[in-house]
């Protein structure tokens, strides 16, 4: 059935992806640009690794609204992690510490979410209900994220079809993880509670490239509202991938869109190869029912081993368990992703669930690498009663962890006979992914009893609708018609200046190319000199263009004014020079140049031009000066 073999990433064609039934959807998290956090009055967007105090908590699973426990919750409970929160007075109050109930939802954030929902063409809800979405990994001290749907059922055009937007929700951001070693996970809380929106698309993308392209469209669409944060970590994607016969797998927290194609390719390959592995197991007669394994304590046999990790473990008084997987010989070397094998699926589980975070955390008899001596494998095999077609896996740790580890090895190996376990997986830099946790279901949702539902009046939506920019694809079409430079079209359409541009071109009748170039290119270039400066406000640009239009400043004056806007808050326009003053400046400069020893006589006029412009830049067009002194330029404008 699964005859197709994955080719390297570059060689995969659209047809190949069709063969494996590649399907992918996105969950895009985008921080909203607000002054404060979503459910308290702490400032948003202030990051620092410094902290004043620590809090320790544990998480326990609780029942869902429909009276069921969530699978992930139970898994996380099994891991028994000690969670440490680092808190800083300036960015965290007693709300984030979960020592104060939530305050009313930040109106500004809610407005932004509603506006963006409408931009996606969603059906907006009439009453927003805050839910608690459980996260027992500790990334939120309450153990849940407060989240609410604001709209459902939107769409964006892509190629010649539509990508469905299933839902758009507003939610609070989680902590940033500092470390996760053994039974201790550390978080910093500065980001915690910041408002963000989550946009969920349908599983409508058919190739890895399509996924990235749709992510890009969505990113640009939300940016065009000017209501979202930009920069590292402000936008993060979760990518859902499945293949025919596979399972929906969620790859969490992809920070960059460019890494999406390789990640989704590897996930599709992983699922496909796991399905092939199931077929191989079936061929060997191993099914869910006939699966057999055995676990034994082999600490004694390995007392004198020279293999360093186990030697260390024994010195620390740890236990070494051996798991025999009957009939699995060679299968731990079964390829799953690029340069990645089935053994890693097992190692990941042991790492996460048994908290054995120091790698390697398992070794196995299928490995070609140097581990324990062949004679030691033989002895273990004898003790546990293994046959030639079996595989042995060793795991070590303190008594409890070693036992949990052995259990997880058995669980994961057995799952291979069933198919692909529903998981969320974390993205790695090399484009592969690793197990993070069991995929949570709707059972982890619970209504927030701390906050009443919030009614959204039609008038509010109508008002917000007026503030919406055109959707980017509509603007881009118009810009192309206006013939503004091609490299400016996309950034402009996704910027917060679209409404301003429209006004300046339609109402003020300014040259579209000039306006577009000033808004995007000038600003970009100037930004390299003022990397810390914020984007220029729309109102500031309005003033600058007004001054330009009424002749107060020249084209060059625009740049000076923008520089001013970057460095201080108040706008100061250079006054346009009057003719007598200009004549005076020219005469003085001519006098000065005569006193200088100019080596290359032919450059004299050019130097003069430079001297004069240095004094009058921004107050008069360069070409006026050139004309007066008879400078013909260097052949460019």
């Amino acid at each position: 059935m699964h005859k197709f073999i994955f080719k390297p990433f570059d060689e995969m064609t659209e047809k190949d992806y069709a063969t494996v039934g590649f399907k992918s959807g996105l969950e895009i998290h985008q921080q909203l640009l607000t002054e404060k956090k979503l459910f308290c009055r702490c400032p948003a967007g202030r990051y620092s690794d410094k902290y004043d105090a620590e809090i320790l908590r544990h998480m326990r699973p609780t029942l869902s609204e429909l009276g069921e426990y969530d699978g992930t919750a139970l898994m996380e409970f099994k891991t028994k992690k000690e969670i440490i929160y680092r808190i800083k007075r300036e960015t965290v109050c007693t709300y984030e510490m979960d020592d104060t109930p939530p305050f009313q939802i930040d109106d500004h954030a809610l407005d932004s979410a509603l506006a963006i929902g409408m931009l996606y063409g969603c059906t907006m809800v009439d009453e927003v209900h805050i839910a608690r979405k459980q996260y027992l990994d500790g990334s939120i001290p309450t153990g849940f994220q407060r989240t609410a749907i604001v709209g459902v059922d939107g769409n964006i055009p892509y190629k010649n079809r539509e990508i469905k937007i299933i839902q758009l929700s507003i939610e609070e951001d989680a902590c940033r993880e500092v470390s996760d070693i053994g039974h201790r996970r550390v978080y910093i809380t500065d980001r915690l509670g910041m408002p963000l929106i989550e946009t969920v698309t349908g599983p409508d993308m058919r190739t890895p490239i399509e996924v990235a392209e749709v992510a890009q469209i969505c990113r640009r669409l939300v940016r065009s509202t000017g209501r979202v944060r930009t920069g590292i970590g402000a936008g993060r994607e979760d990518v859902n991938v499945s293949v025919t016969g596979g399972t929906r797998i969620e790859i969490k927290g992809v920070p960059r869109i460019v890494s999406i194609p390789l990640l989704t390719y590897n996930e599709a390959m992983r699922q496909w190869n796991l399905l092939r592995l199931r077929e191989e197991l079936k061929r060997r007669g191993i099914t869910e029912k006939s699966f057999k394994s055995k676990t034994e304590n082999v600490t004694k046999i390995l007392r004198k081993t020279r293999y360093q990790p186990i030697q260390n473990a024994i010195e620390q008084g740890m236990k070494i368990n051996c798991v025999l997987l009957q009939g699995f010989k060679g299968l731990l070397r079964w390829q799953t992703q690029t340069d990645t094998y089935f053994s890693r699926e097992i190692s990941d589980r042991v790492r996460v669930v048994a908290c054995l975070t120091t790698l390697p955390n398992i070794i196995h008899s299928d490995s070609s690498g140097d581990t324990i001596a062949a004679s030691e494998w033989q002895n273990i095999k004898k003790q546990i009663g293994g046959k030639d077609d079996d595989t042995l896996v060793l795991v070590w740790g303190d008594e409890q962890d070693a036992n949990t580890g052995a259990q997880e090895i058995v669980i994961r190996a057995k799952e291979a006979t069933i198919g692909i376990p529903s998981e969320t997986r974390q993205a790695f830099r090399d484009g592969t992914n690793g197990f993070e946790r069991i995929l949570p279901g709707p059972d982890r949702m619970y209504p927030d009893t701390d906050l009443p539902p919030k009614r959204i009046e039609d008038e509010k939506l109508e008002k917000l609708h007026l503030t919406l920019p055109n959707r980017i694809w509509e603007n881009e079409k118009w810009y192309r018609k206006l013939k503004i430079p091609t490299d400016v079209i996309e950034p402009l359409a996704a910027s917060k200046y679209t409404k301003l541009f429209e006004m300046l071109v339609k109402d003020s009748k300014l040259n579209p190319t000039l306006v577009a170039v000033v808004l995007i290119q000038y600003q970009k270039r100037l930004k390299t000199y003022f990397p810390k400066a914020k984007q220029i406000e729309i109102e500031t640009f309005e003033e600058i263009f007004e001054a330009f239009k009424s002749g107060i400043i020249t084209r060059e004056g625009i740049i000076l004014a923008m520089k001013g806007a970057f460095t201080n808050s108040k706008l100061r326009f250079p006054k346009k020079i009057k003719s007598p003053e200009l004549t005076k400046v020219i005469k003085e400069s001519q006098k000065a140049i005569k006193k200088m020893k100019v080596q290359k006589k032919d450059k004299a006029t050019e130097i003069l031009m430079g001297m004069i412009m240095h004094k009058v830049r921004g107050r008069v067009e360069g070409r006026v000066v050139a004309e007066r002194i008879g400078f013909s330029g260097k052949g460019k404008n």
Binding site: D52, A53, E54, I55, L56, R57, H58, M59, R60, P61, T62, L63, E65, L66, G67, Y69, A73, R89, T94, M97, D98, D99, T100, P101, T123, M124, V125, D126, E127, V128, H129, A131, R132, K133, Q134, L136, P141, T142, G143, F144, T147, A148, I149, V152, D153, I166, Q167, S169, V200, G441, P442, D443, R444, M445, Y446, P447, T449, P452, P453, R455
Partner: protein
């Protein structure tokens, strides 16, 4: 039950649902003038408006739909929620001590209530074992639900009932008693139980939670473990409150029932011993006494239960510019006792004097406590204080105002003879008045000061 068919819905929303025979828990497709939604119709909170229908979407999220926009509701199925903590029989081990858990309400064990949209208590040994299986490692637990009320609704009837239940359990020979209680008035109940139950041979531990147990971060499970451990294993035979020491999940404190007070509206570590130090620290591993002068566990059953209580007692929280009519109205309404929470060392303004004089003449017991909470009433220091004593106001030493209220109610319940009342009031029974305030009995760290910040950064909050 027909009334549950459309649970919580009223007005326009109710008639719309009835129109389409769309009962609560129906799986539906709702068509509106804006678009369509698919999900399960949920009950609605009775306090919410009558204009929206709540559905749970497939993703698990809930949303509200304005009924005015609904065009059609198509019913495709039904999925009713059975919110139930998995019940497992609490294991019995003859080698383990027997502990009784008396429930009065509160959020120690709770679940969602659709009617109000808030949480309501859920409570049985099976449920507790289902959610906190660790309890079985400590003891054999039996539970009895005495009441199911929020703590603000606790009153004399419940106090008496609880004290009597404690007496019965001691008679039966339990090794310790835990009382689940809402936190708001836990210190009131702790105080009255300290008076109503005397000479207890076993620990009596009050416990609650500041974060309800339907939250993964709840303090309920750990508080329960701490309190059950204290009841089963500690040698402290007093009425105590067992709640978080710091906000971190590290240890709990055992506060003496007459010196404890809830000091923050929402913090986990809200309970503090005032004017003294707590009796002990408790973690899941061990109980560490931090003082030695507590009453020790005994093997007898010689408990004294005295549930007298006079309800016509009040606390008056004095404020500048208070008018005498406040006191007058208590006199006119036949109050028998007044506890004043005065300013500073125990003062009220002069305009109140005539009213206080009237109270004295009518034979009303008036006791002074301090609204500073820490420190003693010292009415000899200023003339004001001496004047008031002339008017019959009795200084209540360092009794906390709420404790003073409870004790005065208890004393007046036993006798109307003001001299006898005075004897009862001024003779410490359970640490409500202490002879001395240790220097570490008053510690409220001030944030921002370098050495305090240094301390906070070293020890988990």
């Amino acid at each position: 039950m027909a009334s549950d068919d459309y649970k919580g819905y009223r007005g326009e929303a109710l008639s719309t649902l009835k129109n389409f025979d769309a009962l609560v828990w129906s799986d539906v497709e709702i068509k509106t003038s804006r678009g369509s939604y698919t999900g399960i119709i949920l009950p609605r909170s009775e306090t919410a408006d009558p204009l929206h229908v709540v559905i749970k979407l497939r993703s698990g999220y809930n949303i509200g739909i304005a009924v005015s926009k609904i065009q059609n509701i198509k019913i495709t199925g039904r999925k009713e929620a059975h919110y139930k903590i998995p019940e497992k029989a609490f294991p019995y081990d003859p080698k383990k001590p027997n502990v009784k858990l008396l429930g009065t309400g509160g959020t120690i064990a709770s679940r969602l209530d659709y009617r109000t949209g808030a949480v309501i208590p859920a409570f049985s040994p099976g449920e507790l074992y289902g959610s906190v299986p660790e309890l079985a490692d400590i003891c054999n637990l039996e539970t009895e639900k005495l009441y199911g009320v929020f703590s603000e609704n606790m009153g004399p009837e419940q106090w008496r009932g609880t004290a009597e239940a404690i007496g019965r359990e001691i008679e039966k020979g339990v090794q310790g008693i835990v009382i689940g209680h809402g936190t708001d008035t836990m210190h009131h109940t702790a105080a009255i139980l300290s008076f109503m139950v005397q000479n207890s041979p076993v620990p009596i531990v009050m416990v609650g939670s500041q974060r309800s147990s339907d939250r993964p971060s709840s303090d309920a499970a750990l508080n329960l473990q701490h309190s059950v451990k204290t009841a089963a294993e500690s040698d402290i035979a007093e009425v105590m409150v067992c709640m978080f020491g710091p906000t971190s999940d590290t240890y709990g404190l055992l506060h003496r029932g007459t010196r404890v007070r809830k000091m923050h509206s929402s913090y986990r570590s809200t309970f503090r011993t005032i004017g003294d130090i707590p009796i002990a620290m408790v973690s899941t591993e061990k109980i560490t006494p931090i003082r030695t002068d507590y009453k020790k566990r005994r093997n007898d059953k010689n408990v004294i239960i005295n549930t007298a209580f006079e309800e016509k007692v009040s606390i008056v929280y004095y404020y500048p510019n208070m008018k005498p009519d406040i006191i007058d109205s208590l006199i006119d309404n036949d109050y028998k006792g007044i506890v004043i929470a005065g300013t500073g060392l125990g003062h009220v303004n002069k305009p109140l004097y005539p009213a206080l004089k009237r109270a004295k003449e009518k034979g009303i017991a008036v006791y002074m406590t301090v609204q500073t909470l820490w420190g003693y009433v010292q009415m000899y220091v200023y003339d004001t204080g001496r004047d008031m004593m002339e008017l019959g106001v009795i200084p209540g030493e360092n009794m906390l105002p709420e404790v003073g209220y409870m004790k005065l109610g208890w004393a007046l319940g036993q006798t109307n003879d003001l001299e006898k009342v005075r004897d009862i009031m001024m003779t410490p029974i359970a640490g409500e008045i202490t002879e001395r305030e240790p220097s570490n009995g008053y510690l409220i760290f001030q944030g921002g000061i370098p050495e305090v910040e240094e301390f906070i950064s070293k020890y988990r909050k």
